[in-house]
Symmetry: C2
Subunit: 474 residues, 2 copies
């Protein structure tokens, strides 16, 4: 049963991190990746608020590029979500104001918003729920609550919160100060003085946040309000008006509201938490073996210790390693001492400047209708594995320079070719001659998998003339 | 013009090294791999003896498993070779005696044999030829010549030779002693006292080696003589008789002959040389960049030095590495400090005991008719890229559990299906239903490349009934 003020989880899933390269890349960032356990961080975040007696169905805010991941990964775990799209990134201030405005429309004036980052790791689910209940109690009493994590060490990777004054409802205390990431000595002092880690997760009455923001950032609220009011539905997504939203100044909610409002309160959260800001965070979160090694994926070690291994495919073998991180994907391997994890971002910058494809793109490319993956390429041919989700339809298209052979290996394809529509079933194939106007769709209930063999003198992705597209792409 | 006594290069290409894993594996060892420059070590060895005014066409001795590599890689560089097959490995004693006996048959009683390992790196081609001429002069004067390399450091990785007595023809000096791999202090003394590295390369009159071997190892010579006399031709290879050859005791030529004969002489060779016994050897052979890094393949580095990188595909990225080796192939990555290169063999032993496929097999599997490579695998399907060399013919076969789709992407296929023979050309495809008796062949002049999509409930390599095979396989 929902409490009188429903708690609306808002999952912020628009970030694009490169600190976990080569697994996290611009084209599919860390919140949508499996980094611990068997679900993505985004899925784990949704799971944490799946108790419908406590939480309303989640509202997800993400970037347009990630809209289909947000929907598909929620569907994979049987979770219904509303997905709102930020047309441009404007930091957490405008995002949370938009979330508050949308939540009010969906769940009424009095609803509470629980704003969660989609790319954090939280352990100890009961402690998380305790913190949510405490946060909701404080919010219901008129506070904008930020969750402060009980520090376990003098970390220099996080900002801190200094609580002040007496505990109120939910045990929330007023925020005396927000402080930036400290140096080690300062961090040790903060730890001794009872400061908390600033987790960047919040709970507040939707209306209160908007009111307070209007006080300090009237232009921001004005822009976001317009973007939400003129938002339109597109394929089931709530799309904020691009022009209006772009007019909002880019500012974090801390700078925009929390540092100025008198309603700021902090609830101390005792769950184990990480913002997964680097490979080291994952190393530290995991339980190592007797030698202190953490391995995710196929790994074989000789005489190695205190090291971190993550493989999405290749066998990783190490000899005589001490405090080394090895991250392997199908097309890229990263090796570094564990204490250099903060330099991954700089490396990716270098890779981008050298135009390495692996800097930003994954081998598997996601599309609204499913995904494709290049599996073999040679002179004059290119082989892809294509997956079309149930109901997915590729655009009606033709190519100037290539013919295509399709072999269906799972499910049923509905193929349109020069006006004729026919089905191609498992273990059947068809041929699309050069210039043929064609479309591929999955009319079935299970994903359609097919192998596409392209042949031709030019095989670039840009040899495509889209004549019609279900997903409104150019 | 050949000298009065032709010099017959014998290339020993039967070894199976794991010290250069993951590039070198049992299924395709290091002599057949590109490790420096653009040719394999075997091809580089053949190139060194390509001057037909000095050398006869080479005779290659290799293991049966590698026969098609030996022929194909020679053909790739336009080199005609005779390939003799050792049915079982019996170390270098029986191999060199067999080589001497075959060389006499092919080139006459008086021929000289120049026995070269296929997996060594030699720099300074003119110095190599100088050494060959000196070795041939000494051999022609009745010596069994071993090449001793002028040491460049007190290496503990090599055995040493102590020269004694006065130089004779070709500057060869009698061998005073062969000594095993020393410790560092002993190596330093050897260096000071003028010892030479024992390279395991030889030059001798074919008849003299057999005579001397008969004196110390009569049973060995008897067995090998019978294996050569009852050798038969199989698909153009000289196949030593398996039973007879297996009866020869396994012993190195050093133990069998060189340590006993009065004819042992050493020619000092001044070329730069390595037996490529570890990744370190390749690191040391290459010229590093300003930071001392050596990179083969796609590599991106930040703040790294004195390190070695070899990639056969994936992008290798390193941050803050010092004296680390990273070796990446499509399916396995090895990371270790450079000074642990000698432990690769132990690692591969561990991988074998844990039954990792990558311990012994490459992604690309070689067959007499060409090669295939698994490029994608899923539930109920398996996609391969198949290359059939000109003239290659797969066996006439059928499968109980799978159907196959073939799409030709290069060249022309001759397909036999249930008695019917037809051609499938570039950008055409055909379907082989479950149970169909079929054969694939390349009737053309260029390699045939095709994509095979298998579908079925069981897709193991062992679902094959061979009804007829051009390569006499079971």
């Amino acid at each position: 049963m929902l409490s009188p003020s429903p708690i609306v989880p808002v999952v912020l899933a628009g970030g694009s991190g490169t600190r976990l390269w080569p697994v996290s890349r611009d084209s599919l960032p860390k919140q949508f990746q499996v980094l611990t356990g068997s679900q993505t961080l985004y899925q784990q975040t949704l799971q944490r608020v799946s108790d419908r007696s406590l939480f309303a169905p989640p509202l997800v805010l993400t970037h347009e590029d990630f809209r289909f991941f947000a929907r598909r990964q929620a569907a994979e775990i049987g979770m219904e979500v509303t997905v709102a799209l930020e047309p441009v990134r404007r930091d957490s201030g405008p995002a949370l104001i938009a979330a508050a405005l949308i939540a009010r429309k969906l769940h009424g004036e009095g609803c509470l918003v629980l704003a969660l980052a989609a790319d954090h790791v939280v352990r100890d689910a009961p402690l998380f729920l305790d913190a949510c209940r405490a946060g909701a109690a404080a919010a219901a009493a008129g506070q904008i609550v930020t969750f402060g994590i009980t520090p376990t060490e003098a970390s220099t990777a996080y900002g801190y919160i200094r609580p002040g004054g007496e505990p109120g409802p939910g045990g929330a205390r007023p925020v005396a100060a927000f402080v930036e990431k400290p140096d080690l000595a300062t961090a040790a002092r903060y730890l001794a003085e009872g400061y908390l880690w600033n987790s960047g997760n919040f709970c507040f009455p939707a209306g209160l946040l908007v009111e307070e923001a209007a006080r300090f950032e009237p232009a921001m609220v004005e822009a976001v309000r317009e973007a939400v009011e003129t938002a339109f539905e597109d394929l089931g997504f709530i799309k904020l008006d691009p022009g209006a939203f772009a007019a909002a100044p880019a500012k974090s909610i801390d700078y925009a509201v929390m540092e100025h409002t008198r309603c700021a309160a902090v609830v101390e959260a005792r769950f184990r938490w990480s913002d997964v800001g680097s490979w080291n965070a994952l190393h530290e979160l995991a339980e190592g073996d007797a030698a202190g090694n953490v391995a995710h994926g196929p790994v074989a070690l000789l005489d190695s210790r205190n090291s971190y291994f993550h493989s999405d495919g290749p066998l990783v073998a190490g000899i005589g390693l001490d405090a080394v991180s090895v991250i392997a994907t199908e097309d890229a391997v990263l090796v570094m001492p564990v204490d250099r994890a903060q330099d991954v971002k700089a490396l990716v910058g270098k890779l981008k400047s050298e135009r390495h494809n692996a800097a930003t793109e994954h081998v598997k490319v996601h599309r609204p209708w499913g995904s494709y993956q290049s599996i073999c390429r040679g002179e004059g041919f290119h082989v892809k594995k294509i997956v079309v989700e149930p109901g997915g339809r590729l655009s009606l298209q033709k190519h100037h320079h290539r013919a295509e052979h399709w072999v269906v290996v799972k499910g049923t394809a509905e193929v349109t070719l020069d006006g004729r529509v026919f089905e191609v079933r498992e273990n059947e194939s068809t041929y699309l001659p050069l210039g043929g106007v064609h479309r591929l769709a999955n009319p079935g209930r299970i994903p359609l998998e097919l192998i596409e063999v392209q042949t031709g003198s030019y095989l670039g992705e840009d040899d495509i003339v889209r004549l019609e597209d279900a997903y409104n792409r150019g």
